[in-house]
């Protein structure tokens, strides 16, 4: 019986969608082929979080990752090069909801809300970021690319170019 689950065909890759919901909000959604408690654990366990937050393609790695996952508890991600990301957890409701602040940029930091909704063995993840201003959100999109190193920027450019020409045809 168990042998059959091992032979499940590889499930189709789930798609990531990004929508700018308003001038100050961006929403990212993605499904995962696992129950919510497992996906939640990957977001709240430092050793697991470290493995995916900075993908290999970014050519960067986290030096350390501390997380005190409870309301009012803090987190700190230290990157090579002396950059730190930090903030506090505002809401922690396992395995369905996480809310935290991003304080490395001073007052300009967004509030991040992640919800994990389990449906039919899959987890539908929604990440919502609310920025204090349109300008802060505009800058975040650019900052995301800057943080990714050369390889990623090249890929980025390639995709933007091909996307643009496809849109024009």
């Amino acid at each position: 019986m168990d042998a059959r689950t091992e032979r499940d065909p590889a499930p189709m890759k789930n798609r990531t969608t990004v929508v700018r919901k308003s001038e100050r909000e961006v929403v990212v959604t993605r499904a995962f082929n696992a129950p919510a408690r497992i996906v939640f654990a990957a977001w709240t366990t430092p050793e697991l979080f470290k493995r995916w937050w900075l993908p290999k393609s970014m050519g960067m790695s986290l030096l350390s990752c501390e997380m005190d996952v409870r309301v009012g508890g803090g987190y700190r991600l230290a990157f090579a090069g002396g950059m730190d990301f930090f903030g506090k957890y505002v809401e922690v409701s396992p395995p369905s909801r996480l809310v935290w602040t991003n304080e490395e940029g001073g007052d300009g930091g967004p509030i991040t809300t992640v919800t994990f909704e389990e449906k039919g063995g899959k987890t539908h993840l929604t990440l919502h970021e609310l920025y204090p201003s349109k300008e802060a959100l505009d800058a975040a999109g650019t900052g995301a690319a800057d943080a990714m190193g050369e390889t990623f920027e090249q890929l980025d450019e390639l995709l933007v170019t091909s996307g643009t020409s496809a849109g024009r045809s």
Binding site: A42, W53, L127, G163
Partner: protein, 121 residues
């Protein structure tokens, strides 16, 4: 086809060759505006501003929409492309992250299955 591109190209250059029209683009870069707003800002008659906006519109640099009696102008295609690029950058980052997260999640799930089987025997 070639002709189309050529025309478009020329239209953009013609549109940008005028100082007032460059000023209008700059203005619309910070906020949408009505033709009346623009005419006032550039000390121009309504008819004069309509002509300038028409040139920019034909070049695809500005789009206009009439709501009630007011015609609002905003940056055209170029701005849309910038927004698409912004979304793509964001998507690329999260796509890469989530691909790695998939691996972590798969591993956790496999481990859980193996542990579950051990507990049953």
């Amino acid at each position: 086809m070639v002709h189309y591109h050529r025309t478009r190209f020329d239209a953009s250059f013609a549109a940008l060759s005028d100082a007032t029209r460059r000023g209008v683009l700059e203005q619309l870069g910070s906020a949408d505006a009505s033709i009346t707003d623009l005419a006032e800002k550039f000390h121009m008659t309504l008819t004069g501003m309509k002509k300038h906006v028409g040139v920019l519109e034909r070049a695809g640099l500005v789009t206009t929409q009439k709501i009630g009696r007011v015609r609002t102008c905003r940056l055209g295609r170029r701005r849309l492309e910038e927004e698409a690029a912004w979304i793509q950058r964001y998507q690329l980052l999260w796509d890469a992250r989530f691909d790695e997260l998939d691996k972590v999640v798969d591993e956790l799930q496999r481990k859980e299955r193996i542990d579950g089987r051990k507990n049953r025997t």
